[in-house]
Symmetry: C2
Subunit: 176 residues, 2 copies
DNA sequence: TATTTAGTTCTTTATGAAAAGAACCAAAAA
DNA sequence: TTTTTGGTTCTTTTCATAAAGAACTAAATA
């Protein structure tokens, strides 16, 4: 079940407003699904984060996810694996218990989720620069447009990692 | 024809490498389609930008797009409308000519494409803050995790627009 | 007035990925 | 050894949407 991720006119402002009117945990979990889906993950992954966020238990078992989220084992398995790979959640085990539990990763480094997305910036830069290679007139309006586009992505490609460094630095300081 | 937009492991580095080996305009246009698709637009929209980027003519007509991109009128119509709405391209007309031509928008403000995407940051902030509302223990590990997540998105929500302001300021200065 | 041109807007088709289902496997328990 | 538990990994189904196709429209031309 693939849903829209495309938002030509900013649908997020809507989500923000909706967020204020949510009254039940159930609703909250579903909304997390929709938001995470929009931001490029899957609906089920969002639901898992949402449930972990509002559950009073710190540890939630695999089968509790299937029950409370009304989802198949395969879907939960794939989703927790994805979240584990992303380091967003961590598996946990209990002595004398065969089940696997999951918790929100306590040491999760938020900047890493953003760093992954900066790859697109260098690709866009490369794309616009490459366009110039094909141009006969290297200084016409189209060429200028390409240069400007490339400059923007170059700027972003440099500044965003710097911002993330700033955040990480702030975190390590406050952690001391 | 929907293609992948999902890239759990950064596929963009691949795109970057591919970009270096592109030798024909045809190939370039197709790669633009794939890249723009990954970044959340459509393949056809990417092809249009790609063709405008490597065409020696500044103005390209509607039917030239259909011919060179081997696409239907409806697809081109929808795509140019989308690009026009985004201000990325501008329609142009010629006296005594009934056709509509398009060019890359000469005054396009690159930061605006990024500003649209910052909406997701405030939504994520709202989402994590809302999660706290449902929690009984407001200081346990899960609550701490939510606070940290919210703080990160708050930080980004503030810093990215500041970065875009910086870019715009630089542009107006260099334009003087 | 009839026809062509240029493009828009519905409807249909095709695709690809999220989720479900089924088959499978390893370890623990009976 | 057989069965159950807990979960993984294939295969299948479903569904949203990008693109194509078809029907339509307005303006210009014949």
């Amino acid at each position: 079940m693939k849903r829209t991720k495309k938002l030509y006119i900013c649908k997020h402002n809507l989500s923000q407003a909706i967020m204020q009117h949510i009254s039940s945990r159930q609703e909250y979990i579903e909304e997390c699904g929709l938001i995470m889906e929009q931001s490029g993950l899957t609906r089920m992954v969002g639901r898992i984060i949402g449930y972990l966020a509002v559950s009073d238990k710190e540890l939630v078992s695999f089968d509790e996810f299937t029950e409370v989220l009304q989802a198949s084992k395969s879907s939960i398995s794939t989703s927790v694996k994805m979240l584990t790979t992303m380091n967003l959640i961590k598996p946990a085990t209990i002595p004398g218990d065969r089940k696997t539990y999951y918790r929100l990763a306590p040491d999760y480094c938020w900047s890493q989720i953003m760093r992954l997305k900066t790859g697109v910036l260098s690709t866009m830069y490369a794309m616009f620069m490459k366009g110039l290679d094909f141009r006969i007139r290297k200084a016409d309006k189209t060429s200028q447009w390409l240069v400007e586009a490339a400059e923007f992505y170059k700027f972003m490609e440099q500044e965003i990692p710097a911002l993330l460094d700033k955040w990480e630095e702030r975190k390590t300081k406050s952690g001391e």
